[in-house]
Symmetry: C2
Subunit: 286 residues, 2 copies
């Protein structure tokens, strides 16, 4: 774990950031970490998948010799609830520039039995050691200026779409992707938003694992309602974001057979494509 980067991140928020506090894990023994999953990162009492990834990512950053997640692949098994959890990590391979690890998060069920919630494979490297060439051909999403976008708690829609999770975030949603909140879904599987952390902490590599899973489901703009649970999600972290608000753009193009994929892109203020993710999720039809 790069202690230098961590200290610099913490200086951004006097007293420390709630994100860092809420993903902090306590090492019980090598490869075994304890945490209380914080209720602040939930929607309808289900712990957000991106927050879970950040928790696992935090544990793996302690386990592996390289500090930053480069690619994280997660299979979600059962729903996580706020409260005590154990993370077990394993080093799979260490190399000069990349290491690979595995991590699982467990909670006890009502009978006191340990149940696995999520299992991930992740390859780590050092983002600050990458060469600085950029030949990206993708282009940033077009979002209206922030003051023309809506926070979930704004109350300008008939539906209050805020949640405990969105209270932790600076979300400013693109109104052209909010038709669903006004009973008029666009029919296009798109969702776009400005993104930051509510307490102003800069978004670092672990917070990018959160950022890709924080927007309302694109399924809502396709006229579907209800929960769209993630089966699997893979996140590529490609660059440490420049300071300032990020732009998140999510699209789905293959809704079929009761499943859909969702692709998310995260762009920073320097117009770098800093993270990409794809998840497979289940939809309830009709």
């Amino acid at each position: 774990m790069s202690e230098q980067a961590t200290a610099a991140d913490r200086r951004t928020v006097p007293g420390g950031s709630e994100f860092d506090r809420d993903i902090a894990v306590t090492r019980r023994e090598p490869g075994v970490y304890a945490i209380d999953l914080h209720a602040g990162w939930t929607i309808a009492n289900a712990v957000n998948g991106g927050y879970l990834l950040a928790v696992l990512g935090r544990a793996l950053a302690d386990t592996l010799p390289h500090p930053d997640p480069f690619t994280v692949s997660a299979h979600y098994l059962t729903v996580s609830r706020p409260g005590p959890a154990v993370v077990r990590t394993q080093t799979v391979r260490t190399g000069r520039t990349l290491s690979t690890g595995q991590a699982s998060l467990y909670q006890r069920d009502d009978h006191g039995e340990e149940v696995e919630r999520i299992r991930v494979l992740a390859s780590y490297g050092d983002l600050d050691a990458l060469p600085d060439d950029v030949r990206t051909t993708a282009t940033p999403p077009a979002l209206p200026p922030m003051d023309q976008c809506f926070a979930p708690q704004d109350g300008r829609s008939p539906v209050d779409i805020g949640s405990a999770l969105t209270d932790r975030l600076l979300l400013k949603l693109d109104p052209t992707t909010l038709g669903w909140a006004l009973g008029a879904p666009s029919g296009k599987g798109e969702m776009r938003s400005w993104f930051g952390l509510a307490d102003g902490r800069d978004v670092g590599p672990l917070a990018l694992l959160l950022a890709v899973d924080c927007l309302p489901p694109t399924a809502f703009e396709l006229g579907l309602s209800g929960w769209v649970p993630t089966v699997e999600m893979t996140v590529h972290v490609r660059h440490r974001p420049a300071p300032g608000p990020l732009r998140v753009s999510v699209t789905t193009r293959n809704l079929a057979g009761g499943f859909l994929e969702e692709d998310a892109e995260v762009w920073d203020s320097a117009d770098r494509l800093v993270a990409q993710s794809r998840q497979l999720a289940r939809v309830r039809l009709g």
Copy 2:
């Protein structure tokens, strides 16, 4: 494993298909399988990553109660060579419609030590049990008719780009993505091809894991040469392909910092988007 589907697949090729033969694993004990990785599925003596996924997928289909891979996430650790290998699988969770498993492939190095080559997490279901709704908004790639496309062994380019792997396949590459083979890369990170198996076997769900990783690297069309090793790849299998040749379209949009992502789509003759994949790969610059 759906024995009925397997028998139907085998009937497609009198005497059996080389794909089925070359991914067949022998169960030594529960969760432990042996295989000889076949030299036919290599490029420059490196075993193709998609073929490896199909081998692991075959073992997991035997281990798990559901027959078909829905989403497979693989982290590639060390290069696999033709020859003996062991696959160890583990059931992570079984559910009514989905199960999740983990699998690793090992080979012995020159000192006789077991080295892990690849580790995967995969969630399996039953493709034939999915509802038949299709609300896909993605559209198939535009490819010239097959007789206007080139097989790697065609010899029409100054470079013979055939390999042991391509001899196993029916590849007909889109000439608009073959500029690199004529010394004139297009500058667009795209690769497109018709795809089938050389012996005519229909492409089933396991062969889709192969199909997404069989084309020349998109990096070649960006003017880069040399090996573009896969760090991680996730494949979504969404539908059993209709009979007949498939279309594979690969794109990269984020080449930066010594890495690129490659997205592959596989479309069948009924214009269904039957598989999607994304990999993170390393590039050697210059």
